[in-house]
């Protein structure tokens, strides 16, 4: 048995090397598809935030959308909240952030994201994950007719994106997919 040990060791290293090479070699078209997938998740989040914040959304519907939105994030991810009235930026767990957003004391809330783009392309890390950063601009408008309260601001936010290859069982088959997870959302600028 001992005489075969070097052969086994060599085969192991060769297999590992081939596996690493296959994972590392991603064509530009494939990389672009992954980039687009991740960017689309950020756009989905913008829709979800708009629905959750809207006062026209029914409670049950807002809760359902909160669940979907929460699924986009990595565990323990945080969302930064800023105001033109203070220099502090508060960070909340995403679920808590959504709940606060839904409970804002305005009659009408309008949130929109625009100019969504990568500021740091997805790059492969030593652990095999791809990490990148997307920047968005958020326009917030809250109005309360009774109190005559109007608040609006524009915030620039950076979102860390993690993309990882995973596999799952679907109808008895193993499906390998690209899991996109959003990390912390950091506030970088706030203006009226």
């Amino acid at each position: 048995m001992k005489k075969y040990f070097p052969s086994f060791l060599l085969m192991f290293f060769l297999t590992a090397a081939v596996s690493v090479a296959q994972t590392a070699d991603i064509s530009p078209q494939r990389k672009q598809a992954i980039d687009s997938l991740a960017l689309e998740k950020v756009k989905d989040l913008s829709k979800y935030i708009s629905i959750i914040g809207s006062k026209e959304t029914q409670f049950s519907e807002a809760n359902r959308v909160m669940d979907r939105a929460e699924e986009l994030f990595a565990p323990a991810a945080e969302m930064g909240v800023s105001s033109v009235n203070t220099r502090d930026v508060a960070y909340y767990k995403v679920r808590r952030y959504f709940e606060r957003l839904m409970a804002l004391n305005y009659d009408r809330v309008n949130i929109s994201w625009y100019d969504i783009h990568y500021i740091s392309d997805l790059e492969r890390q030593p652990d095999g994950r791809y990490v990148g950063v997307v920047t968005v601009y958020q326009r917030f408008e809250g109005t309360s007719q009774e109190a005559g309260l109007n608040y609006r601001d524009t915030t620039k936010k950076d979102i860390t994106i993690y993309v990882e290859r995973k596999s799952t069982q679907v109808a008895g088959r193993t499906i390998e997919f690209w899991d996109v997870m959003l990390g912390d959302i950091r506030v970088t600028e706030t203006s009226a």
């Binding site: 629905i51 679907v170 109808a171």
Partner: protein, 204 residues
């Protein structure tokens, strides 16, 4: 003249019909009756027949002339037949029965209806309308957890998928995001025609 056993010929065999005891020569019109069964068969022409023999020069000449006449007639006749042979009348072919339109398969029906539902949900003017369409669309599936796979890229036969989801989540996704980015690339149905698995693909 050579007379074979129990047979005799006055003229070339093709023009002679031999029946037991009787022989009729078509050229000369002479009828012979075979008398006796011994080797030396004797043929006696009927009394009404003219007495002619094949050795007669006149008979030979007449036979030759008749033969030529028949041959010429045959050629002419053949030519006429060839010339006059009318084109075969076009046979009235029964009009081919119009091919019965191929019945769309259960998969095709499902794809067609689902594409319509997806578009309606994504473009619904309000949440109530979208929810009603979602409930209608769910009726096409074996259950609400029917898996939905989304192919984002394919290269060398290897597919890259988005995270698998289920049909209820996907229909709500269409409603929430109001965008219909994917088309149906594969569908699986059960025996009752209900969808059991759906594969979508990114539009380019």
């Amino acid at each position: 003249m050579f007379v074979p056993k129990n047979k005799y010929y006055l003229f070339p065999p093709p023009f002679q019909i031999n029946i037991p005891m009787i022989s009729l020569n078509l050229f000369t019109g002479m009828l012979f009756v075979k008398k006796g069964s011994n080797k030396k068969t004797q043929t006696i022409p009927q009394q009404k027949m003219k007495k002619r023999t094949a050795k007669s020069p006149l008979s030979k000449l007449l036979t030759l002339a008749l033969f030529c006449l028949l041959a010429m007639g045959a050629c002419k006749s053949k030519k006429r037949v060839t010339e006059a042979a009318p084109e075969p009348a076009p046979v009235e072919q029964p009009a081919p029965a119009p091919a019965a339109p191929a019945q769309p398969s259960a998969e095709e029906v499902a794809v067609s209806r689902l594409e319509g539902y997806f578009s309606s949900i994504a473009n619904a003017s309000n949440v109530q309308s979208a929810n009603a369409t979602i409930q209608e669309a769910l009726g096409l599936f074996s259950n609400q957890n029917t898996p939905v796979l989304i192919v984002i890229h394919e290269e060398n036969g290897m597919k890259d998928y988005d995270e698998p989801t289920d049909i209820q989540k996907y229909l709500n996704y269409l409603k929430d995001t109001q965008k219909n980015l994917n088309f149906i690339s594969d569908v699986r149905v059960d025996g009752s025609g209900r969808v059991t698995e759906l594969e979508l693909r990114r539009r380019r």
